[in-house]
Amino acid sequence: MNPNTDHGRLFESLPAYVLGALEPEERTELEDHLEGCPLCTSEYDDLAEAGMMLALNVPPKEPPSELRGTLLDAIRDDEAKIAARESSPVELLPQPSDVKPSRRFGWATGFHARYAAAAAVMIALFAVSLSTLLSNGTLDERVEELESQVSSEATIVSSIANTVMDVSLDAEESETTIQTVSRLAIANEQLQEALQTSMVMQKAASQPTARTAVLEKSDGSTDTFGTLVAGHQTSTRGQMMIQGLDPSPPGFVYQMWMTIGGVPRNLGTFHVNEMGYVFVELTVPLFTSQTLEGAVTIEPGGGSMRPTGAEILRLSAP
């Protein structure tokens, strides 16, 4: 490793980083570098295991008994503050009463159709993701296809925002305009997130031992669907994305299960965003069969040890 390059210098700093021997600004620089450097990340992960051993070099010591309660109280307060901040959430899809029709241009009324188009973009993108994920062709070809699709759809969302900005001429409409553009910005961010996660899944699916399965409603309807990519025999890493799920009811979560040897294994709980989309990285038990089976169920908050709720989606290999 050449220490004269930025990468080389930062690579050489990894042991000091693990030992906590960098200055704060050096630590920040290295952490930024780690975000995009697989080589340094791999080296760090290896050295960090040794760093953990040093923590074990200190025998456990009982903290004051009241600390546990203090900690949980602090978390409760933290959550209460967050809930208070979110008590007036921005509703993603505006209701008719939220937006006054424009006297001159009628753009606000038209916004519904445009925003619905943005939502449709998400669904279209996901459909493309799913089809490219399951299609033949090289990884590069599939990623290129995705990029092309998302690039054009993101342009649509961007142009909607610009149009909204251009036609808003008086003060009465300006506040509504800001809200509208904010919503479009959220949609655009979610679109970009969907692109990123699609890339991750494409790459995961291209691994020689990867297995890809689809999540579908058992009644055959196509408004809700998803994919799961999991390692086979060699890896416990997995990724899942789902589109079109309604938000889980208050106090409930969605929970993913994978059936191994006839027994459902918990893969974790999740929520979907405002557009019914979710991408999660999962720890998947090693499995040896060629098929993938499982389900998504609705469960009480925190999840269940075994499936107890209704089956929402069924997982099966295509």
Binding site: P15, L19, E49, P60, A74, G262, P264, T308
Partner: protein
Amino acid sequence: MSTVSRTAKSTKSGVAGVVNSSPGAVHIPMKDAADYVDMSDEVLLAKIAEKDRLALGALYDRYGRRVFALSARMLNDPQASEEVTQDVFMSVWRRVTSYKPGRGKVTTWLFSIAHNRTIDELRKRLRDRSRENQNIDDHVNIKEETALPAEQVIAQSEFDMVKEAMQRLPEEQRRVVEMSYFGGYTQVEISEMTGQPLGTVKTRMRLALRKLREALTDRIASSD
């Protein structure tokens, strides 16, 4: 009153083990702390991501003594160590999604947070004092303490393994590890204090970590 059995069953139409419930079904919430005792660290983190406070309590029960001990060992101040321990678990609560399951153990991630937070506190304190007048050994000597009886067997086994691995390190490598990890000194400060070139200090750090990593690997291999 209709109820839903929590026993896994096979259904003809559904996935094995998934019990379809009616809309009015009564769900049994998993809110018994005892349910969390046998969960893996990864499952606990998944539940923490869902804002499950009981899961955080379970993680604290599992590792709170370790985190507190590390901080107390480095700071030698029980009150400050208590604050650091609380901060560490608050960070886990807020930043749980930064844990990447494929990149390492939960404990590696957790103790990294704990060590960084303690280092920050230690340096804040050290800035207020002149290091010229400090005895390095105030911070870097390993003091043996007695583990709690319930954890004694496992903790002592781990402690003995790490202690042995540390003792096998050449003196100069062990010294830079102790000065940095437990003493909170930067690599530049260690270079100045020991009179060794910075490159030498870096090399000793890398070699020491590699040897500790090998000791861990050997232990895992011998326990299989």
